[in-house]
Symmetry: D2
C-alpha cells in the first residue's frame, strides 16, 4: 500500500537528476512571472545593440517581434519553461533560436544572465511598486470616506486597552488614511532606488563592447544607469528588501486596523459589524459567524514581515559579487508581493462596507472618559494640572464626577472637532497623481520598445 | 497586447470569488501533503468511535476502508481537492459521503476541523522528524567516513581566517559528524513534544461525548494524550517551531561545512575539489566551473532559518485559542521541511565524493603554524607560558624559527593524534537505532489502523 | 552651550582610543557576569594541570585559592575589569599574577581564550537553564493551583475571539500548567547539549600537551567531553541559540496567558481583575488604572524572541572556526536570559493573586455556547452530525434554542468535567525533581573544585 | 561562600520593589539619552502655551530657562534620573518644580507622556539620521578617494568565489561609494517620515485646549504636524523601524566590503593589508595578527539587523493606541543607532589607510580572466556568441588560449576604463549638501527655542 507521506518528498533518484532538480529548484515556475519583464528587457537590449552597431537593424527587428510573440504566448498560458531549460532566460533564447535560427542566439551578446535577471526583477518591482501604490491609495481613500461618513459618531478612545478619552469613528478611520498616506509619500523614494538600469553590468564587471547603457535605460524609462557593475550585483537583494520593507511598513499600518476590527466586532463591544460575506461558519458550532477574512488579512500582515525576513536571510552575510545563493531570493520576493496585493485587494472590498453600530459605541463612551477633559479645563483656568488632576480624581472616587455640561472639544488639528480631513485628502490626491503619472510614463516607454522604429 | 505582469496578479473578480480565493488560499495544494495523515488520523478516530459505542462497528469498517481507498487514490495522484471544497478535511468527508452515503458524514462526530488538522500535522511532523533524522544520520556517517579516510592528512587550522595551528582533514570531517550527532541526540526530545495525541480537543474545549482519547493515542502509537484542549490549540505553531528550530540548528552545523568547501575549493586554496557533477558552467565565461550545488545548499541553510522565521511571525503574538491566522502556518512548515530534506539529500551525495588534494593542503601547512606548539612545549618544560610565547615570537621576528624536529602532537581527546572517531561512531549508531526503532513502531501501528479488526 | 545629543555618541578620539573602545566594546561589563564561571572553570583547569603533572600541586593550590579570592571580591562588587584589560580573562590572570607572581601566569597553560570563554559561557548557561527551570516549575505550579481553585467556575470558550463553547477557569489555568510542563520536559535535552566540557579545544585544534580533558569534565560535573575541538568552536552560538530558543518557546506559552489577561480584565469583559499593585495610573487621566505589568510582561515575551533573533544574526553565516564576530554574542545571550528571569519572577508574583470575577464570567456564558453540545448529543443518538447541526441552527434562528436541561459535560480527558490535574501535578513534580537533582549535583561538584585536595 | 552567578539576577525582593524594578526597567539609563531632546521639546511646548495664552509669558520664560539649566547639568553628567522617578519626563518635571515651584508643574499642561516621549524620540531620530548621514557621506568619499587612487590597479573579478573576469581596485572601491550614495539619496525620505510634529496628540485623542500644534512644529523646524493623534501613537515603532531599516540597508552595503577585506587580506590572496593598528595578536599563537576590527565591524552589520529585528518584534502585532509594551522599544532603537555610529566611525578610520598590494593582485589576474573578453570580441565581429564561447572554450582546453594582445577594455559606463567617478562625486556632493543644509536649519531652530523672545 502507498506509504503516507510518499508525496512529501520524492524517492531516491540518480545523481544527475537529483542535482538537476536541486539547482533548478522552483525557477521554471517563478520565472514564468518574470517572463514578461525578461522579454521587455531583452527587446530593449536588442534595440540598443542595433543602435550601437553591434547587430543589424533587421535582426533586431526579428528579435523584438519574436520576443513579443513569446510574450503573447505567455499571456495565453501557452509558453512553458521546461525543467531541462533550467530558467526562463534559457527558455526565451531557445524559443528565439527555434523561430529565428542564428539570429536568436545573438540576443545574449553583451550581457550575462546576472544582469539579465536583475533587469527583469527590477522591471517587475517597479511595476509591483506602482500596483501596490495604486491599491494603497484606494484603501486610503476608503478609510478617508469612512472617516467622513462617521466623523461625529463617538467611540471610546482606549489606551492600554482601557477606556481612556472620548474619540470618534472619524478619528479612527482617519488614522489609517494618514498612516497609508505616509507610506504613499515614501513610495517615490523606494521607486527611485529601483529606477536605475542595471543592464551592461554583465557578470559584475562590464564587457569589452561599446554598449550604450544610457540608451537602454532611456528605452525602459529608467531615471538613469546604475553605474557600478559591482554594485549592480551587490544590490541584488538590497532593492528587493527595500520594496518588501516598505510593504511591511504598510502592512504594519493596516494590521492595527484589522486588530481593532477583530476586537470591536466582538459581542463584548459590538461597535462594528463585519458583513456576513466576509465571515464563515463553524464546522461544529451552529451559532457562530467567524471573521475569517479579518483574521487572515491580519495574518497576511505577519506573513509579509515573514517574507521580508526570509529574503533578509538570503540577501545578507556574503562577500561582494554573484553567488548562486541569490537564486533563492526570487521566491520570497514574489510571494511577498502577492501577499501584499491580496491584502490590499481584500481590504479595499471590506472597508467600504463596514457597519458601524453608532448607538453601541456611543453607549460605551461613558462619562469617565471626560475626566481628563475636565482636569484640563480646570488647568486652563489656572490651576496647576497636577492639582486639577487630583481634584477630578477625588470627584471620581466620591462618585460626584460629571463631565462639563457643554462638552469641551478638541479643536486643535487632529482633535475630534477638527480632524483635518480636507488636508489629508489633498495630500492623498497628490500622492496618487504621482503613481498615475509614473505608470503612464512607463507604459508609454513599454509601447515604444515594442512598436518603435529601428535603424 | 497582453500587459506584462498580467500573470502576476489576477484581475478584479466579484466579491464572493475574491473572498473565497482569499480564505482558501493555498490550502488545496498544501492539504494534499497532509492528506495521507488526515486519512490515517480519521481511520483511528472511526475505530475509537466504534469501540466507544458511538458508531456501529460495521460503519467504522466502511469508513476505514473508504479512507484507505482515498489514500490509495492520493498515492496515485488521482485524488483532488477542489477549490470549492476549501480544504482537505472537507474533501475527504465529501468523498466518503459520495462513497458511503450517510455513513460518510459520521466521520466528523466528536471532532472539529481544529483538532483534525492538528492531528494530521502532528502525524506528518513525527514522520518528517524521523525521515530527517535518518538522513542526518547518513550524513554524519559520511562525514565520519571522510574523517577516517583522511585522518592523517594535514591542513592548516584557521582562526580569524588566518593560518593558526596544525590541523587535519580528519579533524575537519569529524567536526561535522560530531555536530550532527549532537542534533541527532536532541531529536528524541523534539519528537517527544510531538508525541502527544491532540484528538478530542475539538474546537479547544472538548466535547460532551464519552470519547476515548487514550485509545486514539494508542492506535496511532502516541506516547500519550495531550490533556488540555486549550493547550492543544495553543500548541499550534509551538510544535512546528520546535521542529523547524531543530532543523535550523542542524542547518547551522552543515552551513559551516559548506562555507568551508566554498573557500577551500577556491584556486587560491586548492585544498579540495567539488566534483564536476556538482558544478555548472557560466553563460559567458568559457573557463569557469561554478560550485553551484555548494552555494545553493548553503543558501538552503539560510532559507531554513527564513522558513522558521516566517513561521514564528505567524505563530506568536495572539491570545489563546484558535484564530484563522493559524491557517497560514502550513506553508512555512511544509516548505521548511522540504528544504531540509533537499539539503540533506544533496549533501549525502556530495560528501562521499569530495576530492581532497592532500598535497596542496600539506603545502599550506607552513612552519609558523607550529609556533604555538613550540611555545607550549617550552611552557610544559617549566617556562611561564607568557615568556615562552615571547621567546618564540622573537625567533619568528628574527627569522630563526623552526618547528620542533619531532613534531609535538595533540594526543588528548580530539587532538589530531587522538580524534576519538570510534566513540563518535558508537554514539551515532545508538542515535540511529533510536530512529529505526521509532520508525518501526509507528509503521506497525499504522498497519494495524488499516488492517486491524473492529467490534 | 552643550549640544543636545552630545551624550549619545562620543566625540572624535585618537585612532588607538577609537579602535580600543571598538574592540573592547561592552566586554568589561558583560564579563563581570561571566567572571564567577571563569574563575570556577580556571580552578578546575589548574587542578587538572596538577594532576596531569603539568603544574606542581602547590602552585595549583595557590591558583585555586587566588581564584576563590577573586570570586569573593567579585561577589562583593570589589573586582573590576579595567578597560585596558579588555576582557575578564585578562583581568583574572593579571590579578593572579599580582597576587602570586610567576605562578599566576601559569593558569593559561594549555588553553586559549577561545575555549576558556566557551567554558565559562557553558557553565553560566547550565546554571541559567536550571534557574529558569526552577522558576518555570514554580509558575506551572501556580497555574495548577489556580486551575484547582477555579476548576468549576464557568467562562466562555472563545474561538476567532467569538464566544464558542462552554469552558471554565480551571480549563484556562490548566492550559498554561500543561504548556509549561512541556517546556520543563524539554529542558533536560537542552541541558544535555550544554553538558559537554569544551576545555582543551584551545584555539580550535587542541594543544600538544597531555591534557586530561575527561578529568576537567569530571571535576565540573559535565556528562562528558565535547570531543572535536573544531566543533567546540563551531558550537559557539549553537548552544546559546538552543537555550534562548527554549526560552522563547516558554515565553510563547505565557504570552497567551498574558494576552488573555489583558483582554479578560477589560471592563467590556470584567472576568478577572489584575490587582492594583500590578497596575499604574495615567499622568493625565484621573480615572485610569493601567495593567502595565501585564503589558510589559507580554512585551518581554516579544523581547525574548528578539534577543534570540539578534543572537541568530550573530551566530550564523560564517565558515568554521573562530571569528571575532562571535564576541558580540555575549550581549543578547545575557540580556535574553535576564529578560526570561524577570518575566518568570513577575508572573510568579502575579498568578497567585489574580482575582476571578466568577459571576461576570458565568453571566457571559450565554446559552448559545451550548449549541454544539446539543448538536453533538443529537448526533450521539444517531443523527448524522451535519443534520443535527442544521437542526440546532434552525432552532437558533427561530429563537427557540435552549440548552439541554441537564448539562452535557465533557467527561473525556481534558474536558471540563475531567481536567486531569492530578496527572499534570505528578508529571510536574517529576520534572521539578530533575531540576533539583541536577542542581545539587552541580553544586556539590563546584564545592569540591574549591575545597578538594590536590596532589 | 558567594554563589557563582549571584550577580546574574538579584535575589527575591518584596513585591512592590520587584514590580517597581520591572516597570521602570532600563528607563532611567535610556532616558538620559533622550533628555536633551525632551528638554528641547518641552521648551518649545512652553513657548507655544504662552503664545496661545495658556500660560503667562513670564512663566514660560522661567520654564525655558529651567529646562536649559537641566540640559546643561545633563551635559556635565550632573543630572540624574532617580529610580523612584521612573522616567526622564518625571525627573524633568520634578526638577523644574524644585527650581520654580508651582510654575514647574505647568509644563505638563496639554500633553501626555505619550506624545512627550514620541516628540523626544523623533527629535533624537532626526538628529541621529543626520549624524549617520554625515558619517556615511564621509565614508562614501573615502571609498571614492580609494577608487581614484587605485583606479588602474587590476584585480580579479570573482563570481561564485571563482576568478571570473578582469576588474580593478577602482571598480571595487567605487561599488561601495555608489552603494552608500544610494543610501544617502534615500535618507531625505526617511527623514521626511520623521519630520512631522506629534505634540498635541496627548494620549492619542487630542485635548480640549486650543493648542497651536502648527506653532510647535514650526518652532522645532518640523515640516508640519502629524495630524491624526491616533496615527501619532500608532506610528510609535513604525518610524523607529524606518530609520533602523535604512541603517540596516546601509550596513548591508558595507558588510560586503568588510567580507571582501577579510578574504582579500588572507595570506592565500594577499591583495590588501589591514594596517597593524586595526589588528590584534593571539593569546597563544605568537605568529598571528588577527583582523579583529574588520570582523567586529562585520559583526556590527549583523548586529544592526538584529537590533532592527528586536525592534520589529516589539513594534508589531498589537491593536491601535498605546500599550505599555512600547516602552521596550527604546533600547533596540538607541542600541542600533549607536552600533551604526560605531561602525561608520571605525570604517572612516580604516578605509583611508588600506594598503593595496598592487603587485599581488595583478599576479592573480591570470590570462583565463580574459576568456569571456575574447569570446565577446569574436561575437562583436559577427560570430554568434554561443559559437565564440565554444571556440574559446576549446582553446582553453587545448592550452592554446591567449588573451588578445591589445587588451579589449570595458569602455561603457562603469567599465574598468570608464568608471564614472566624477558623476558619482557630483551626486555625493549633492547628497551631502542636503545633510548639511538640514542640519543647519535644525540647529538654527534649536537656538531660537532657547534664546528667542517671548510674549
Amino acid at each position: 500500500m502507498p506509504e503516507p507521506g510518499a508525496q512529501l518528498w520524492a524517492k531516491d533518484l540518480p545523481l544527475d537528476a537529483v542535482i538537476h532538480r536541486f539547482t533548478v529548484g522552483e525557477d521554471p515556475e517563478l520565472d514564468l512571472q518574470l517572463l514578461p519583464w525578461d522579454c521587455l528587457g531583452s527587446a530593449a537590449h536588442a534595440r540598443m545593440l542595433a543602435e550601437a552597431g553591434l547587430l543589424p537593424g533587421s535582426e533586431a527587428r526579428l528579435l523584438v517581434d519574436g520576443l513579443r510573440r513569446i510574450l503573447n504566448l505567455a499571456g495565453q498560458g501557452a509558453f512553458h519553461i521546461l525543467p531541462e531549460q533550467e530558467d526562463g532566460h534559457t527558455a526565451i533564447e531557445a524559443e528565439l533560436t527555434r523561430m529565428l535560427g542564428e539570429t536568436g542566439k545573438r540576443i545574449h551578446l553583451g550581457r550575462s544572465r546576472n544582469d539579465q535577471v536583475i533587469l527583469a526583477l527590477r522591471l517587475l518591482m517597479r511595476d509591483a511598486a506602482l500596483r501596490l501604490g495604486l491599491r494603497a491609495a484606494q484603501l486610503a481613500d476608503a478609510f478617508l470616506a469612512f472617516a467622513e461618513a462617521h466623523r461625529d459618531e463617538p467611540m471610546p478612545g482606549y489606551t492600554h486597552l482601557r477606556r481612556a478619552m472620548p474619540s470618534s469613528w472619524g478619528q479612527w478611520g482617519q488614522a489609517f488614511a494618514e498612516g497609508l498616506l505616509e507610506e504613499l509619500q515614501a513610495l517615490p523614494e523606494v521607486f527611485r532606488r529601483l529606477d536605475k538600469c542595471p543592464l551592461g553590468a554583465a557578470a559584475g564587471f562590464g564587457v569589452p563592447l561599446p554598449l550604450q547603457r544610457e540608451r537602454v535605460a532611456d528605452l525602459l524609462a529608467f531615471a538613469g544607469v546604475q553605474r557600478s557593475p559591482v554594485d549592480v550585483i551587490n544590490s541584488r537583494g538590497r532593492h528587493e528588501l527595500a520594496l518588501l520593507g516598505w510593504l511591511a511598513s504598510l502592512a504594519g499600518v493596516v494590521e492595527k486596523a484589522l486588530w481593532d476590527l477583530s476586537l470591536y466586532s466582538m459581542e463584548e463591544f459590538g461597535f462594528v459589524k463585519v458583513p456576513d460575506a466576509f465571515t464563515t461558519g463553524s464546522s461544529i458550532m451552529p451559532q457562530k459567524r467567524n471573521p475569517d477574512v479579518v483574521e487572515l488579512a491580519r495574518g497576511k500582515c505577519s506573513e509579509i514581515r515573514g517574507w521580508a525576513g526570509l529574503l533578509r536571510e538570503l540577501a545578507t552575510g556574503l562577500p561582494s559579487n554573484y553567488h548562486r545563493d541569490f537564486q533563492l531570493q526570487k521566491k520570497p520576493l514574489l510571494a511577498g508581493l502577492r501577499a501584499g496585493e491580496e491584502l490590499l485587494e481584500v481590504l479595499n472590498r471590506l472597508v467600504p462596507v463596514l457597519q458601524v453600530d453608532a448607538e453601541a459605541s456611543r453607549r460605551a463612551s461613558t462619562p469617565e472618559l471626560h475626566a481628563a477633559h475636565k482636569a484640563l479645563r480646570l488647568a486652563a483656568q489656572g490651576l496647576p494640572f497636577r492639582e486639577a488632576y487630583r481634584a477630578v480624581a477625588e470627584e471620581l472616587k466620591a462618585g460626584t464626577f460629571a463631565p462639563d455640561p457643554v462638552e469641551a472639544e478638541a479643536t486643535h488639528t487632529g482633535g475630534t472637532a477638527n480632524l483635518g480631513l480636507e488636508a489629508c485628502r489633498a495630500e492623498l490626491a497628490e500622492a496618487r497623481a504621482w503613481v498615475d503619472r509614473t505608470k503612464a510614463r512607463l507604459d508609454s516607454a513599454r509601447d515604444a520598445v515594442w512598436d518603435g522604429g529601428l535603424p
